[in-house]
Chain length 217, copies 2
DNA sequence: CGGAATCCTCTTCGATACTG
DNA sequence: CAGTATCGAAGAGGATTCCG
């Protein structure tokens, strides 16, 4: 179908990379898959406006470029899933730098802008500060709207995963709006306490979390 | 003129970043400007296929997004130049990660692919290995085709700049083809000596350079 | 139901020609 | 040299239909 995929035709690593991931939607698809395999429908839901034909075409391109493999979920839910290959996962750092750069462009959420809690998870993860994590060994779980994810900090390293933690030290439950207010506002603890968001653990843990994953202004 | 620049409409740092730099050509323009201010003509020459209208539109967009400022060269060459702002330069890391990721896609130069020596300079710079640079304090100048650039290694840090060095320890003169052969081949010194490429300095310096800027793979 | 193919309209791209 | 104007070609986006 792609007789000639459009190319910059330059012997340059940047141009080659952009030949593959520079098209519209591609890196957003990678963003979604970075937090685990997804079904077609999941991707479509997270990418409003993409249209099934275009998503289908992109996934095919990405498969032919070995960024993605098509798998099958084990029965009974035997539906197709898309998963990043090693090469695809290698884009994590690229996405991370773009997120850092784009952070200051976020501004105030506008009404027409959609939001998925897991995007915040990924953004927080790139703001991880190993220095601040020294000596901390804790797990923080967040339940935002109907998404659950958690961060594990241990041994100067951090990990962020979708789904609940097995035995979290802190659990925070909030709506998207509350969560964003918390993230961008001052006096996080005051707000969290007033709203009763901390369902397990102490405000000190939230403070610590805020120091370890300090969003860049 | 831009009634509504197309946007992903997501409250996500990645999507915001891609709203601005995700369009075709934009990051390649950034790549060019990362090595210093350029005139319209220079950019057009380095981006074959862009078309003057599109380059013009992109520069306007980038100016309105504060990635670029339009300056004037001092007389007598009073022509307009484009220069990255601080925000624009912040994309250096993004470009760096894309270059690292794209490196393995380079393959063999194909006849239709164009090449500019300065792209190699930027690619080499991202492969800098601080460990290997410990205790080295040298300047390496390269004259490839009709472009000249140099690397300064000092104090565990490296810098790459267009133009000649003031007092280089090593000077290597080569064609693009020779340079690429050197970069991707085995036995660099053998090749360099056989072709007489090292015009100043010793083969040991070239070996050291290859260890400090070791291209990935 | 998940996902791919088909249409149709609109925007963007790319190449060339043209102007200050 | 630095752009603007123009126009055919390609790609995006939405709706709908088809297929397992």
């Amino acid at each position: 179908m792609n007789k000639t995929t459009r190319s910059y035709n330059q012997f340059c690593a940047l141009a080659k990379a952009l030949d593959i991931v520079g098209e519209r939607w591609t890196l957003l698809i990678v963003r979604e898959l970075l937090s685990g395999p997804k079904r077609f429908k999941d991707l479509q839901g997270a990418l409003p406006g993409i249209g099934s034909n275009l998503l289908s075409a992109r996934l095919k391109d990405m498969e032919s470029q070995a960024l993605v493999v098509r798998g099958k979920l084990p029965p009974p839910a035997a539906s197709a899933i898309y998963e990043l290959t090693e090469r695809g996962s290698g884009l994590g750092k690229v996405v991370g730098e773009l997120v850092k750069w784009g952070f200051s462009l976020l501004g105030i959420p506008k009404p027409e802008e959609c939001f998925q809690p897991r995007w915040a998870m990924q953004a927080l993860l790139v703001t991880f500060d190993p220095e601040a994590a020294q000596g901390v060994s804790e797990t923080y779980e967040f339940r935002i709207d109907d998404e659950i994810f958690h961060f594990t900090v241990h041994d100067g390293k951090a990990e962020g995963l979708l789904g609940p933690a097995s035995d979290p030290d802190m659990v925070l439950v909030a709506t998207s709006l509350e969560f964003l207010t918390l993230g961008f506002g001052e006096n996080q603890n005051g707000y969290a306490i007033k709203k009763g968001l901390i369902k397990r653990g102490t405000p000190e843990m939230l403070t610590r979390f805020g120091r370890i994953f300090r969003h860049l202004r």
